[in-house]
Symmetry: C2
Subunit: 247 residues, 2 copies
């Protein structure tokens, strides 16, 4: 589990043995499991610990005063959410597990000391933040400019691509533990309309989606229809070229 964390960071910057050790030590002994659909952190809270997501699906969301809810981001296996709560005092959104997840809890002080001591690790985590921000920008475009069909198609492409990177796809198939209601909350559409749009996609021979399994039958076509350009995922992490020698 903890090894995921190192792998993730090394996608951005190669680490020295010392740095790697420090990271692993951080996580050891502090992992716990949380069942699905459980709110892990709530908007408005001021957590004293960081929760590093090590495995499983989760999502960020915000709720308006009148109850309307927007899902803002999905965390997939291999992502590590939420270093940011170290730096920002108060949560501006909630995080809820979608599947059962495993989480490492680390106190703010410990993290902060680590980051100032190992700037290279800080830079890698900053990078992670920037990639997530790029994804958030694309979601803004998705909600602002695309039609219902395009929005859903785009989200499916994104999730599939992100899962493929971490080896969680099987041919054209992948897990997709999201209800239609949740999908609607992510793309700003009503459940009913999500349902009809999915049927349209099935009828067009583009996808299969039942239970928790998604099959993308014609990915190129789906990408085309969604105007999906994976550049925003920044899969070419420049940091892979940086080694661990001191600056």
């Amino acid at each position: 589990m903890a090894i995921h964390l190192v792998r993730k960071i090394e996608a951005y910057t190669r680490l020295s043995a010392e740095e790697r050790q420090a990271l692993l030590a951080l996580v050891a002994n502090n992992v716990r499991r949380i069942p699905s659909r459980q709110e892990m952190i709530r908007e408005g809270e001021r957590p004293t610990h960081v929760q590093l997501l090590l495995d499983g699906w989760a999502f960020r969301h915000k709720t308006l005063v009148d109850g309307r809810r927007q899902i803002i981001a999905f965390f997939l296996p291999g992502d590590m959410c939420d270093l940011n709560i170290t730096l920002l005092r108060e949560m501006d959104h909630s995080i809820t597990s979608l599947t059962s997840v495993s989480v490492a809890e680390i106190s703010h002080g410990v993290i902060d000391a680590l980051l100032l001591r190992y700037p290279r690790i800080m830079r890698a985590l900053w990078w992670e933040t920037l990639v997530n921000a790029a994804i958030q920008r694309e979601w803004t475009v998705n909600l602002g400019q695309r039609t219902a069909f395009e929005r859903i198609a785009h989200l499916l492409c994104e999730v599939f691509m992100r899962l493929r990177i971490v080896g969680r796809t099987n041919g054209q198939k992948c897990e997709f533990p999201v209800t239609q209601a949740e999908l609607g909350e992510a793309v700003g559409l009503s459940t009913v309309h999500v349902n009809r749009t999915l049927q349209e996609m099935r009828a067009a021979g583009l996808i299969t989606l039942n239970g928790k399994e998604l099959t993308i039958i014609d990915l190129p076509q789906l990408q085309e229809l969604a105007m999906f350009n994976p550049a925003y995922l920044h899969l070419d992490h420049e940091g892979r070229e940086f080694d661990a020698t001191p600056a």
Copy 2:
């Protein structure tokens, strides 16, 4: 001008004299002015320099293959856009000036060396990234869940608040150099509908907006209607409490 940069960073973390000097040296002699409505960086480019926005308004945007355009973020005076292009190889969006702006150009190598040498500065910039990401999340909610009226009201509240922090408001008034078409691109609405919604706001005695001047007549009411909660702007930067002694 360059002093804005130091002030911005010190909103997050107090700097030592040495750190402050290093920052100022960075910007000196590399400032240029750019006229309004000029594309400064284009999606797909791989810039070799960072452009630090020192003064003026600008915006991020993305264009879909069929020409639909979404404005993703506004940069206001006192913001400093776009350290991030240091870390990400390829621009996933474009940046265009809205007013005439002044910009400092700094090479990637210089910045990277500075950040590894002064982790405290890196942390402050990361912080900035996180606040921007929080704003981006709120925009996602805005486009996904709010009505036309609420979206525009929310954006006006946000801009007004952000300007007020940096001392750019005058009572209920502030500059607002955004056309109705651009406003529409920011909130995902047609120009026509923006126009009608603004009229509705004027008729309700909430705002005045002509030329480039915005007056918010009844801010509390506008916030209420927009369901605007400023928590996401993270105005209480915890970093103010950190001093510059070594970690």
